[in-house]
């Protein structure tokens, strides 16, 4: 693929996809600046893989997977890399900054995998199998994380409203 053609196709894709990618990244990391960094990084990776991904007609799935697999710890400290096999080792984040919308703030208080599964399953509308594939975890784990995440969010939002 010639570079000018590659750039033109890529720019058209970015213009269309960037708003929804920013929203996804924001829901996962709770900070618009960090979200922009994560999206930029994911799109840069997409650019490298563009000929292959575009041929397969699946840039959305590729960039989404890249984005959600960038762990929150990695997005805060992008020099760190964690291998797979993380089901039991995901880290919850520090208490969120005040002033964030309630649900986004509550999401940041969940363990990483709970946060990702509930966003992928119930906001993006992915199936259990698709979510499991994106995150590299078992379907049963997706179900348990999703269920726990919804229960925890309910509790966290009640805390906020009671305070």
């Amino acid at each position: 693929m010639r570079r000018s053609q590659r750039d033109a196709e890529f720019e058209a894709y970015v213009a269309a996809a960037r708003p929804r990618l920013r929203r996804l990244a924001y829901s996962l990391c709770g900070d618009w600046h960090a979200a922009d960094d994560v999206v930029q990084s994911a799109l840069a990776k997409l650019y490298v893989a563009w000929p292959r991904v575009a041929r397969a007609a699946n840039p959305d799935a590729y960039v989404r997977r890249t984005l959600v697999r960038t762990t929150i710890d990695e997005s805060r400290r992008p020099w760190r890399r964690e291998t797979s096999g993380l089901d039991g080792h995901d880290r919850a984040l520090d208490a969120p900054d005040p002033g964030r919308p309630d649900l986004v703030a509550a999401l940041q208080r969940l363990p990483e995998m709970q946060r990702k599964t509930v966003v992928l399953r119930h906001w993006l509308g992915l199936s259990v199998a698709e979510t499991a594939h994106d995150l590299g975890i078992a379907e049963g784990t997706v179900k348990s994380h999703t269920s726990r995440a919804l229960a925890a969010l309910q509790s966290l939002l009640e805390e906020v409203h009671d305070a």
Binding site: D7, F10, E11, V14, R18, P19, R22, R23, Y26, S27, W32, H33, D36, Q40, S41, L43, A44, K45, L46, Y47, V48, W50, T66, R69, T70, E74, R77, P78, W79, R80, R81, E82, T83, S84, G85, L86, D87, G88, H89, D90, R91, D94, P101, D102, L103, V104, L107, P111, V118, V119, R121, H122, W123, G140, S144, L150, A151, L153, Q154, L157
Partner: protein, 271 residues
Amino acid sequence: MTPETFATLLDEETRNAPAPGPDHVLAAGHRRLRRRRLTVAGIVLAAVVLGGSAAALAVPGPDRPHVVPAPADEIDELLETCRAAEQTANDPGAAVFGGADPVVTNHLSGPEPLATLEAPGGRYWPECRVGPGPAFVLAYDAETDESAPRPSTLTSPGCPPVGNDADLDCRTILLTLVTRLPEAVATVRFTTTDGQQYDAPTVRGYVEARHVFKIPDGVTYGELTAARPGDHAPSVTLTYLDASGTAIAGEDGALPPLSTYRVLGGWQHRF
């Protein structure tokens, strides 16, 4: 909370996004593509030049790791910090400590010291960490049915940070593993693609390991990690050894898989 409520609320809260910053996506893509090509070429060249001289790679020079044995008073201080963090938490899960002193099973020193403990009864094993940020405790459940097939390993530069930033020009990789395995696993062996090895002994199945691996000449940590598809960790395979030193599980296909000895700690809760 129902899935529908969640979706509606999140949709509303993310709808009004601030304007994005300057668009450097295409330039970043160009840079990344150039870096990938250069790095892959560099890795191949370095591998050829270095050949099998793994022994020469064993000891890092100027990039000396910040890993040293923890003195006893440091462990006491670490535990005191985590105990305080636990006592200030209002989560009922803090009861895993059961009001009794946990047993220290292992500890690591350094800028982010940590210790694994064993709560009374043996089922829960808290991990006490300090940094980055405030101290916190993670408690794992050894009897979970959600164990990972492979322990999680974390990599970062083997050099101290430069100010608040990681040293991406670092020529070493610091690999960290904290987990609990069945007691049949006496040693966890790390092997890099270029043949460097490190053996981490377990203590009744508990293992905390930090080790620095050398990066081949001509490549930095930043370049090496950026060159990997998905930016995952540089490839380090794990092998489990029993007390006699016999390999009992591994990732090379010739041995039973690591999942034969399941990770004892699929559930975690942060205090």
